[in-house]
Amino acid sequence: MIDVLYFAWVRERIGLPKERIETRAATIADLVAELAARDDRYAMAFSDLTAIRVAADQVLTDFNASLTDVREVAFFPPMTGG
């Protein structure tokens, strides 16, 4: 089981802020492929991965990162703080 979080327009496109999912995905890229195959909302949200950033257990990482021992993954657009 893994918590998947969505923020900003990724959250709006998918239609929910957080879900707990059962997955055997080995990497974040595998997880994205699994999610994108679900339905159009996910497919659209993940259609351009260059526009999406990802964090594993609250630390920025990349799509090739392993999911071993990861409890929380978050997808969001580039940050615009300050």
Binding site: F7, W9, P77, P78, M79, T80, G82
Partner: protein, 150 residues
Amino acid sequence: MDVRVQSSPFDPGIELNRFTDHLGGAEAGAIVTFSGVVRNRPDGSLVRMEIEHYPGMTELALAEIGQEAMSRWSLLDALVIHRFGPLVPGEPIMMVATAAAHRSAAFEAAEFLMDYLKSRAPFWKKEVTSDTQGWVAARSEDEQALTRWR
């Protein structure tokens, strides 16, 4: 070092004075602050700005950026305050303050904090007018600014 992520307003002047008083004046000669306020759109149509963040990761990211600044410039103290939630034009969004013996360290550390906070702390801004709403796009200049610190 003090890092605060909050929905409630803050007063930049009071924060500057509190930060300065807390130093005790022994070694600090130079204090730099940056404060960001919600800018209206050129046509004055902004009703509010909504700031979303990632609770947990935000505090982690800001603490890490702050510690990096403290050690890299031997700061005497640093402060980061960032709001989330709805804000109206003219309201303070965020503030950083740095204190050092000399001005170049205080200036550089404040710029470093701002550059990292802009592109590495998980905040997202949405602009709301009476009939539109849209997420603020990241600026390539902001990503570019980080190369200065590598």
